[in-house]
């Protein structure tokens, strides 16, 4: 009984904080907009009893999902988000891997400090950190002032309000999610494996390529999903750093909700986003499981 109670805690948690909200969103996505509070119909009228339930059920339809396929804004936004998420995941990997690798090569007494430095940015508000990038990247920002100051460029670079700023923002924000799993994988790597590889005729580089890299693959996969999944639905970064041309599904979602007050369409957008993300989430779980097995 006690055992059962213990196991049920995470399930209750999931039920209360994921499944129930999801079902509410799903229901709204099947409703129609209405100028009312809440701004959609039908609403369930318990007082009418069984007839009320039937009326409520009859009011639900797939109209909003059909709408998502009719207006090309939506699929373009999904595709664009996908592209931005993929590119920024690759960029984060390119920046994160050398950092993680460098950390494992650092002397033992340095590692806790380096780890601290990676985690430290989390101690300040995410919003403030992203906002401060505006001050760095704008036309009169620190970066341009510096580059003009050292005489590298004459005209300021236009970075803010472009996709480049969004990439910078995502790479910066999600870097720790990439570094930490890769670091964990590299940390576990037994130094003597590299010696064995060299002993059998590998150069340092081939030893890295044939041993270190494959053995950190699970860290890479984990890190990539941890960046890709939230980046896909990212709202704050494109809203603050991106321009009017930056199309991301998170932004579309926000606008449907707050600008258009079209809760049902916004909910439909969210449901589709979730369905899209289920694929990488399942893959991520598989990877974690495999890792656990190999670790045994």
């Amino acid at each position: 009984m006690k055992r059962f109670a213990l196991i049920s805690i995470p399930y209750l948690w999931l039920l209360a904080l994921f499944l129930v909200p999801f079902l509410i969103v799903l229901k709204i996505s099947l409703s129609d907009t209405e100028l009312a509070i809440p701004p959609y119909t039908p609403t369930l009228d318990i007082a009418q009893g069984w007839a009320g339930v039937r009326e409520w059920w009859a009011g639900l339809d797939m109209e909003n999902f059909v709408w998502l396929t009719e207006d090309d804004l939506y699929w373009k936004a999904y595709l664009s988000s996908l592209k931005i998420a993929i590119i920024s995941t690759v960029l984060t990997l390119l920046v994160g891997y050398p950092i993680a690798y460098g950390m494992t090569r650092a002397p033992d007494e340095w590692r806790p400090t380096l780890m601290m430095l990676i985690i430290l940015p989390f101690w300040t508000s995410f919003l403030i950190r992203v906002y401060s990038w505006k001050a760095i990247l704008s036309n009169e920002g620190f970066l341009n002032q510096f580059l003009i100051g050292i005489g590298l460029i004459d005209e300021p670079l236009v970075i803010l309000n472009t996709n480049i700023a969004v990439y910078i923002g995502i790479v910066y924000t999600y870097l720790p999610f990439m570094v930490l799993p890769i670091y964990a994988a590299l940390e576990r790597l037994d130094e003597s494996l590299l010696e064995a590889a060299e002993d059998l005729g590998c150069s340092r580089f081939t030893a890295f390529w044939l041993v270190t890299f494959p053995l950190s693959k699970q860290g890479i996969v984990a890190g990539s999903f941890l960046v890709f999944i939230p980046a896909m639905g990212e709202y704050v970064i494109p809203a603050l750093l991106g321009g009017s041309k930056t199309l991301m599904i998170g932004k579309v979602l926000f606008e449907e909700f707050f600008a258009n007050r079209d809760w049902p369409v916004a909910s439909a957008v969210a449901v589709v986003l979730l369905l899209i993300l289920i694929i990488p989430i399942v893959l991520f779980q598989r990877n974690e499981e495999k890792q656990r097995e190999a670790g045994k």
Partner: protein, 381 residues
């Protein structure tokens, strides 16, 4: 092999031939980790086709020596040459040396077969040749059935065999084996020992092997180096190490030994006698050199060289008496512990040719021990 055939074969003793060039030469090699000295001013020559065993207590520097040969550690002082070439600037992948690691160091992401093929692939051999060689190695270590398993899916002993096969696969000129057989059961260990000796004979590979198992060192080695605290205490053939240990440390480290302390009363350059207890006959053994009169010395004698009898033996150089304190029955033989003069405990071993019930010697009995004048060795250090 009959004794006659053995006698016809030239004796393999390159270390006695000054015209022979050693394959490996350690010259005054010192290795320090911080201020800890792991290898202390070590000089040694190892010759081609030798089966060279390193023996010594844990932490004495055996692995460190191997790692310097493999190129994973550089000597703090001194030089190492292999085949006449100074090794200080040669990285591990450029050495014709393969090492079997004490921790096995198997690649966890590769199957058993791919682990074995790893070195062969680096040599860019044709695929069919690699496959054939891998197959050969798998049969050698009896792991054909496990070729496609990952290292974490096989047992510890099997892993050790994969590591061995992987290091053998490239048929290197010099093979370094760091405790290659420790995790194997006795039968498999013996089979593999003979297999190694076979490989050694057919390929002419030079082996340097670390082992904790003296019997193993005795079985396989052409020479044994006994190490202690980063120094080599004695290098010699197994027989010499066993029969004529150079000092008390070696005598005590290898096999079972009786150490009888005394003072030298008589000595030539190949024998010495010590007086060891009041009213007892002096004991004589071989000596490596003439020892000055009155020097403190120890007679080292192996238990199996001590004869036990109930009556005083006639016509022997060394005899002493005592009472039986303990008898350990070991099946094919028994070990007797005898308390002699001054409470000195001496072990004697005798083969059990008769049934246990009819054995003549029992506890508390007064017995005589005797041995020849070449059975023991008188040591001063």
């Amino acid at each position: 092999m009959s004794d006659a055939a053995k006698a016809l074969e030239p004796v393999f003793e390159p270390w006695k031939d000054p015209s022979q060039k050693p394959l490996i030469r350690f010259e005054n090699v010192t290795k320090r980790f911080g201020d800890f000295t792991a290898i202390d001013d070590l000089t040694i020559n190892i010759y081609e086709k030798e089966f060279f065993a390193l023996l010594g207590p844990s932490g004495c520097g055996k692995t460190t020596m191997m790692r310097m040969l493999g190129g994973f550690e550089t000597p703090t002082e001194g030089s190492i040459t292999i085949d006449g070439q100074d090794m200080s600037a040669v990285p591990p992948n450029k050495r014709a040396v393969n090492m079997m690691f004490q921790s096995y160091a198997l690649f966890p992401h590769l199957s058993v077969a791919d682990n074995i093929a790893f070195g062969l692939k680096r040599d860019k051999l044709p695929a069919d040749q690699i496959a054939a060689r891998v197959e050969e190695m798998l049969s050698l270590v009896q792991l054909n059935k496990f070729a496609s398993r990952k290292p974490h899916q096989i047992s510890g002993g099997q892993r050790q065999r994969v590591a061995l096969a992987r290091s053998l696969a490239k048929a290197p000129k010099l093979l370094l084996l760091d405790e290659p057989l420790g995790a194997l059961d006795k039968k498999l260990r013996q089979d593999t020992q003979f297999e190694l000796m076979d490989i050694q004979e057919t390929t002419g590979t030079t082996f340097v092997i670390v082992t904790h198992d003296q019997e193993e060192a005795m079985t396989v080695a052409s020479r044994i180096a006994v190490m202690d605290h980063g120094k080599i205490v004695q290098v010699d053939t197994p027989a010499k190490i066993y029969e004529e240990p150079g000092n008390i440390y070696v005598a005590d480290f290898i096999g079972d030994v009786n150490l009888i302390k005394g003072k030298v009363v008589k000595s030539g350059n190949d024998h010495a006698s010590i007086s060891w207890a009041e009213g007892q006959q002096d004991l004589t053994g071989i000596a490596h050199d003439e020892i000055p009169h009155g020097t403190e010395a120890t007679l080292a004698i192996r238990p199996e060289k001590v004869t036990i009898s109930t009556d005083r033996p006639e016509g022997v150089t060394n005899a002493l008496s005592g009472t039986v304190l303990d008898i350990a029955y070991l099946g094919n033989m028994s070990t007797y512990v005898i308390e002699a003069a001054n409470g000195t405990l001496i072990k004697a071993q005798a083969a059990n040719t008769r049934r246990i019930s009819r054995r003549a010697i029992t506890w508390e009995q007064q017995v005589w021990l005797s041995f020849t004048d070449t059975a023991g060795v008188v040591l001063t250090s």
